[in-house]
Point group: C2
Chain length 781, copies 2
């Protein structure tokens, strides 16, 4: 359905995701996949004119609100700025009527611009050429620009456009905003204030317009409208055949949560700042604003740019698509915010952060932009309070991180009720917020991963150690002694495979808890020996010495499920005893979760059916702990039983396939991972793009095909390029240094841009790189 073969106007290939035919069924997919943003805010790409089924979303990162006590905190959908009510000779313009030619709607990834062009015949003899452009400025985080150009091919026409700020939108019916003041200054500057109902975040949204006919600014007196939750202006004009209208709209978005206002925030002051910014933007106009925006994106591509020379140009596009969305969704500007599981591209998962960030996205930032990685981990540090509360509420010690996180102090925000249970006709209870506990060790793991790769001791001393110690304290309190078997167990959990609830001794959970405690013990010894001041501080804060005694007494008694005679590690105590069914009807279906058409979750829980990678995640994160034979055997066994109904599944399988040297499989799975959002399934991304999967795409390339790994604190590189690839090059940060890695089937060359020298292991051999070095790519020999 989507086209990936278009080039940019200057001929550059591999940058354009486009739709060549308007389809009302694909509205949601295009809105999400082509969504815009700058980390501060995200704007779903609904079309200017309205269609049934559209979803207009504007999210500002971190502005969480809770509709009522029955719902959980979510990112509220701020007032819409994108809708234009366009009338041609008095009739509402829509592509569903009349005739459409030369249609194209495309996201230009390089410039982060949304462009829609087509020729439209109204069926009554009038013909118009439309071009719509839109961007969310990466240069000026509060600015959005829109532009409509209409050329009259056959006319004349009476054209009117109504445009404004529409706060009638909600989150699927839940309204998060009080309506504030609405105002039109000088018949030009529209302002709408709205305030979230519970968290009391003020939003100041502004918009203004500029009209040109045949390139010349024209003054058209607007009809002004203030209605419920709406402020708007309407412009009407007559266009003769051959004339062109350029309609520009610039908009600004500010909130009281913006860091820049600090503690001195006041609504009147913010309104002044916002209005001034709107006036400045209005003076600049679309083109100048856009040019600063593209300059900012040029820097992004300079910093992150991956090169892939492949017989299939889609490969590079897929990776760029991932990069694009990772930039668009990540609140690089504010450490009080995390990354949503759907970024800022839809209401799905309510803007909440899951382990998706630490395990699937963080590696990209650790190796591409460590500062942002640090900011994301600081967000978790700020979440310690909520994690401690959650532990306490559950009768545990230490820090028990929420399965879903919103504003740091919100604590656990996982909703409790999900989709229909086909047997009972009630909603299925979501247990993750109660018992999907591995998130806590995933975060500790991420801290360790970041630290060992960057060497950022400042981070560790301020934030990292505290996270690792307190999560270990949680786990130690969480362990359950099995007297009969003489071991510590972790029972009644959900592991990564969410089709198995209330299981005992999920292997991933147990191993990662063990890892977490062991890690804390290592750092305990290190600090005790080398940083007595730090050690004393944490001891005072967390009663570390006592904690250490408990860790010591328990660590080696934690039950770590071992491979059976077939080398299979039981995913949990009962998985291997469950019924096996033929999953063919449920694999790779148009909609994920198709098994629930036939079974409810309880029933699925009694089958050897997995939603996603579980043991495989363990192999990926703790790869040194398992032999290649065990990995292969388990891969074989579990993959068959895995529906990949989670977008967190395919990339992990691809990386493991790379590790096994099965390039063909790895490449195929990489493709399937990119197709989670870019594939032909028309509803795959309705609720938003899949953040973890996008991080996973980068992981497939860099950690899979290039074999980049941090093992025992050392950088490893063991490329296994797909057969179709002639080159893979990418930047790589290691211990504060920027490397540029260039891999061909024959060679691996590394340039150390920062200077100094670095150690790394290439295909298992210790190497040193000063300025640059080239090594044979032995895997292909």
């Amino acid at each position: 359905m989507l086209n990936y073969n278009k080039t940019l106007p200057d001929g550059a290939p591999g940058w354009v995701v486009s739709e060549d035919q308007f389809s009302s069924l694909a509205l949601a997919k295009c809105e999400a996949v082509m969504s815009l943003g700058n980390g501060y805010m995200g704007l779903r790409s609904a079309t200017e004119e309205s269609y049934v089924g559209e979803k207009r979303n504007l999210f500002v990162n971190g502005t969480f609100n809770r509709f009522d006590e029955l719902e959980v905190s979510e990112l509220p959908n701020a007032a819409d700025l994108t809708k234009l009510d366009i009338r041609i000779d008095g009739k509402r313009f829509t592509l569903e009527q009349g005739e459409v030619k030369a249609y194209s709607r495309s996201l230009n990834l390089r410039d982060a611009e949304l462009v829609r062009t087509f020729i439209w015949n109204n069926g009554e003899g009038k013909e118009l050429e439309f071009t719509f452009r839109r961007f969310v400025s990466l240069d000026s985080l509060h600015v959005i620009g829109l532009k409509m150009e209409v050329k009259v091919l056959r006319g004349p026409v009476n054209l009117s456009v109504s445009s404004g700020i529409d706060a009638q939108v909600s989150n699927s019916g839940s309204q998060h905003f009080h309506e504030g003041e609405k105002r039109i200054y000088d018949k030009t500057y529209l302002e709408l204030i709205q305030t979230t109902t519970e968290s009391k975040v003020d939003f100041a949204i502004g918009a203004s317009h500029r009209l040109k006919v045949d390139g010349q600014l024209v003054e058209v007196a607007p009809a002004m409208e203030i209605d419920r939750r709406i402020v708007a202006v309407g412009y009407s004009l007559r266009l003769e055949e051959g004339q062109s209208l350029t309609f520009e709209k610039v908009a600004t978005v500010y909130t009281s949560r913006d860091k820049e206002f600090g503690d001195n925030y006041s609504l009147p002051a913010m309104r002044e700042v916002a209005l001034a910014a709107l006036k400045t933007a209005q003076e600049s106009g679309y083109d100048a604003l856009f040019s600063s925006h593209t300059a900012a994106w040029a820097k992004v591509w300079e910093n992150y740019g991956i090169t892939i020379e492949s017989s299939n140009p889609f490969d590079l596009l897929g990776v760029r698509f991932a990069h694009y969305h990772l930039v668009v969704m990540t609140p690089a500007h504010d450490n009080r915010m995390g990354i949503g599981a759907k970024g800022l591209s839809g209401e799905g998962y309510k803007g909440h952060s899951f382990w998706d960030t630490e395990i699937f996205i963080l590696p990209f930032y650790i190796y591409s932009n460590p500062e942002i990685a640090r900011s994301l981990l600081e967000y978790r540090y700020l979440g310690l309070e909520g994690a401690r509360n959650k532990a306490k509420e559950n009768g545990f010690a230490g820090a028990m991180y929420p399965w879903e996180a919103a504003w740091p102090s919100d604590g656990e925000v996982t909703p409790v009720w999900g989709a229909v249970d086909i047997v009972t006709g009630e909603q299925t209870k979501i247990w993750s917020g109660f018992i999907e506990q591995h998130i806590t060790s995933d975060i500790a793991y991420a801290v360790w991963h970041y630290f060992r790769s960057t060497g950022d001791t400042d981070f560790m001393e301020k934030y990292g150690y505290e996270i690792i110690f307190d999560t270990a304290i949680f786990w130690a309190s969480r362990l359950e002694w099995n007297e009969a078997l003489g071991r510590y167990e972790i029972n009644e959990v959900v592991g990564p495979d969410e089709y198995k609830e209330h299981v005992d001794n999920n292997a991933f959970t147990n191993y990662m808890a063990h890892f977490n405690i062991e890690l804390a013990m290592d750092y305990y010894q290190e600090l005790e020996a080398q940083s007595p001041e730090l050690f004393a501080r944490y001891d005072e804060l967390l009663n570390l010495k006592e904690a250490h005694k408990v860790w010591e007494s328990k660590l080696n008694l934690i039950y770590l499920p071992q491979p059976n005679e077939d080398l299979i590690i039981p995913q949990d105590d009962t998985y291997l005893q469950k019924e096996i069914i033929d999953l063919t009807p449920y694999k790779d279906q148009e909609k994920v979760g198709s098994i629930f058409n036939d079974y409810n979750l309880d029933q699925v829980g009694n089958l050897q059916v997995s939603k996603q990678a579980d043991i495989m995640m363990l192999f990926f994160l703790l790869e040194n702990k398992f032999s290649p034979e065990v990995k292969r055997a388990n891969y074989q066994y579990y993959e068959e039983k895995t529906l990949h109904d989670s977008s967190l599944s395919l990339s992990t399988h691809s990386i493991l396939a790379s590790d096994f040297g099965d390039k063909e499989l790895a490449y195929r799975l990489f493709h399937r991972a990119t197709e989670i959002d870019l594939g032909p399934k028309v509803h795959s991304s309705d609720a938003g793009i899949h953040s973890a999967s996008l991080g996973g795409i980068w992981e497939c390339a860099v950690m899979g095909f290039a074999g980049v790994r941090m093992l025992d604190g050392k950088l490893h590189l063991a490329p296994k390029l797909p057969e179709h690839w002639d080159r893979l090059s990418f930047p790589l940060y290691w211990q504060g240094k920027r490397l540029e890695v260039n891999i061909t089937p024959q060679e691996i060359s590394i340039t150390n841009v920062t200077g100094g020298s670095i150690q790394l292991i290439v295909h298992g051999k210790q190497q040193e790189v000063h300025e640059s070095a080239t090594f044979a790519n032995t895997s292909t020999l």
Copy 2:
């Protein structure tokens, strides 16, 4: 745009309001004008398939809720039951695509059924005949029925329908509901619970479906869906050419405010009642439910039926349309509820009651169904508490009724901010809630009108006297002494003409206040003399003796503006000194209020421009107080300056024209009144039909053309039939007796159905009617 010439299937004319061509611009108008209801609830007639700009509204009378402290109470928009997502061969069915033939959408007023039929070609060779039917049961107030019939003319087709209960709707963005439980019982019975956020009214909404192919029930396993604020089922089936599908949906609506639950209400109990009712309805099926519904409507027409023999059949249709909507909107079942200014047909005026009820609608009920008139006045009695609070808050004594009323205890609910001020760019402040005070005497007037026409002393003793006394107490405290002029004034008000704010001595307000006090004094004397017990009770409650002293001292000093040398009564102290402008550009425009495109309200306030009847209202209500010459002179003077931007204006002018004997003008204005909703202005009724105007249409016919009036407690009849009319007959209740009045240009015949004898004045002559009598219609001689 709308067609009024269609007949019913049995050939009966004058019952059908229809649209013969689908137009997306007319969505809102049809939704409102064709809306359904039964007084308990109102259902806006949005089409089953969705269109941009549609508004789906389901209101249950009296279930007011306040979104937040910044908004006022309003009727919340309950979950939608009408939407069907219909897919033909996988594509969403919409009339905006493909080809439509033989389209008709009609409201059958007689049976209160909405019917839509058309043949639709999907543009890909498939052709289907659709018929949609819908009713809101008048027999069983909690029941809604929908039916879709699809006949495959050219097939085969794969058809799927998704249908359910959708609580994602809001009031233009304001969400009034917490989401409650959603449930599907036995894969058949859908249930959705929702609770208003502030008033905590529980709603239990149920729906179930039944499918027949070629008349035979078929079992199709539904796909079940529970999503945010949504519960739904989807049915898919293949239909061969020639096959017909009948898709029935029955739905039930219950709320915790339903009188029947009384004080023993509990949510589980209501859910049980609602589910049982749904099962019963499901068993009955659409046709049986519909037949009980039409039987209930047959009784309505039997009771209210007006006959008009006119050369223009639209005249009768217009009156029936008024009758229809009056029934649909009026909460005859519950005296805790009033009538909304837009009935239950749209969000306009938030379901609030204005003087519209007492002055424009109540006469219809007084003379057609006195029990309902009493219930509506009891609603005002229940509102006394709020009225007393309002008086206190404003520093007055007695009962000061709210300009806009919702739940009786809500008090004043007029919103404070309105449309844009084109000069300042801010919202215009709405002063009515503060200073449009004549509502208080309007209610006292209505009590008197009811009592004098019905002789319902029980009502007076329980409710009526108290209202009249306490409103008079208010007015006495409200009067302002003008020392210089030696008179009592009422300054700083808005009169009926809302284009004049902050005026002094609005004639209508002063006269009606005077009337109110005088009336109280009359009843004071009457009770003192004849009902010492009652007198004592009210004296104790209201300190009546003291009040009476004040009334006595003030009544004759109240300034009542008198005609000037040109016989013109100044509407207020300054009106006649204001600038006069040419109003031609603003009269009878496509949108009311067009003057605000050029002036803001302050500027309009300085012109001799009126929104609506003001002095004319006074002439209508207190007709004996003014000479015919004064009336004519003022009519002439003010009508020129009146934009009729309020729907309360034309009917009053028509009645006065009848009184003057200007039949042609009266008839023309009657027509314009019917066209407020039924005319060609495509957006006239977007926010709902105009309740007062509908009452006014009845008033034009019965109080205007038939000249029915209560004067000094006597029934007057002075018909002046329009030239086009050969007959006008209608029922008329007087002093508890049902009369049937039949007027021709020659004769007036009256049948006294109830028995006994009645006195009345026909064309100025005292008459007596036992069983029946016929009089010459002297006015035409």
